[in-house]
């Protein structure tokens, strides 16, 4: 019985792992194979750029994941520019020029986003400092020394 349960858990874990591992592949929403570029390397580049661009209709999906009309148009634009041989930077600038930094799923480091970017480091530093201080205090004020009564009880016990 127990062995069967364990086997079932193992199978479930494997299925989940494989499903999670494959999900990025399943998430690509290119509706129609004719959208894709014939050159596999160019298509991979277009997908990498597209996954960095926000769909302005759904807002929390990339244009590669969304099936909104505007996302389809923007995918098409990205592929046109990739086929023309433009760099990632040029394509990104083209998009930001029209839609602002909002279209970038990862915000660039600017004066307005500094706090966002340094927050993990800041949290680690502050947490480490708090932990360090409390450990030091705990070590400094250990338990009070045994009283005479306690000491005699201890010797009686041992």
């Amino acid at each position: 019985m127990k062995a069967a349960m364990r086997r079932l858990a193992f199978v479930l874990a494997t299925v989940l792992t494989v499903a999670i591992g494959l999900s990025p592949l399943a998430a690509v929403a290119v509706d129609d194979p004719s959208e894709m570029l014939p050159d596999a390397r160019q298509e991979a580049r277009a997908q990498a750029i597209g996954s960095q661009l926000r769909c302005l209709v759904c807002q929390n999906e990339s244009i590669e994941d969304s099936s909104a009309g505007l996302a389809r148009d923007l995918r098409h634009v990205v592929r046109e520019h990739v086929a023309k041989g433009e760099s990632d930077r040029q394509i990104m600038d083209w998009m930001v020029g029209r839609y602002g930094n909002f279209i970038r799923l990862s915000p660039p480091l600017t004066a307005g986003t500094v706090l966002l970017w340094v927050m993990p480091v800041l949290a680690l530093l502050v947490g480490g400092l708090v932990a360090f201080l409390s450990f030091r205090r705990a070590r400094g004020s250990g338990p009070a020394p045994l009283s005479d009564d306690e000491r005699t009880r201890l010797t009686d016990l041992t």
Binding site: L56, V57, Q59, G69, L70, D73, L74, V77, V96, G97, R98, Y99, G100, F102
Partner: protein, 192 residues
């Protein structure tokens, strides 16, 4: 009674324990405000602040959309008076809701329409039913001109000042308050 003297760290520990609750509470209040703002219309996540503001209109030429005459960047750049450019589509519900405002506006501010990814016959029927608020109408069948303008969805309106510079932008449907409090005063200031 003797609790405080016996455990001097208690209040501080309580404060530390309360900190996550306070943070979560604050986030909750902020989130609630965002949601209620969406309901009242003071916050619209789709009203994207496009960088088009205070830039000249992008290059484009679009064909006629019956019953209006098409136009391009050159027409907007040679204008001497402000004009409202309005992207619309017959398949867009907020565009239908916006039409009474546009009709009320058309005598005080010329409106030029751009039909966004719409079949010419559908767009024509829509404009006819709405009472045609547009002085000129162009057709952007592919939607590529709209992308150059930074349009993220219809309806979207741009106030074009003299010389073809974009002076104001709204990615939401125009309502009466916006029209009277923002758009018309701004258009009047551009006219002088």
């Amino acid at each position: 009674m003797s609790d405080k003297t016996a455990q001097p760290g208690l209040t501080r520990r309580r404060l530390l324990m309360a900190a996550p609750l306070v943070v979560a509470g604050g986030a909750g209040v902020a989130f609630w405000q965002m949601l209620s703002g969406m309901r009242q219309g003071s916050f619209d996540p789709h009203d994207i602040k496009a960088p088009a503001l205070n830039r000249p209109v992008p290059d484009f030429t679009l064909p006629d959309q019956s019953p209006g005459q098409g136009f391009g960047a050159a027409d907007l750049r040679t204008l001497k008076v402000p004009v409202l450019v309005n992207f619309f589509a017959s398949w867009c519900i907020p565009c239908v809701a916006e039409m009474p405002q546009l009709n009320a506006l058309k005598d005080r501010l010329p409106i030029w329409g751009i039909a966004y990814k719409d079949k010419p016959t559908d767009a024509q029927g829509f404009v006819h039913r709405a009472g045609n608020p547009y002085a000129r109408i162009a057709s952007d069948l592919s939607g590529m001109t709209a992308i150059d303008w930074g349009v993220s969805g219809v309806p979207e309106s741009f106030l074009i000042g003299p010389g073809g510079v974009i002076r104001w932008h709204s990615a939401a449907a125009l309502d009466e308050a916006t029209m009277h409090d923002i758009l018309l005063p701004l258009a009047a200031s551009l006219r002088t």
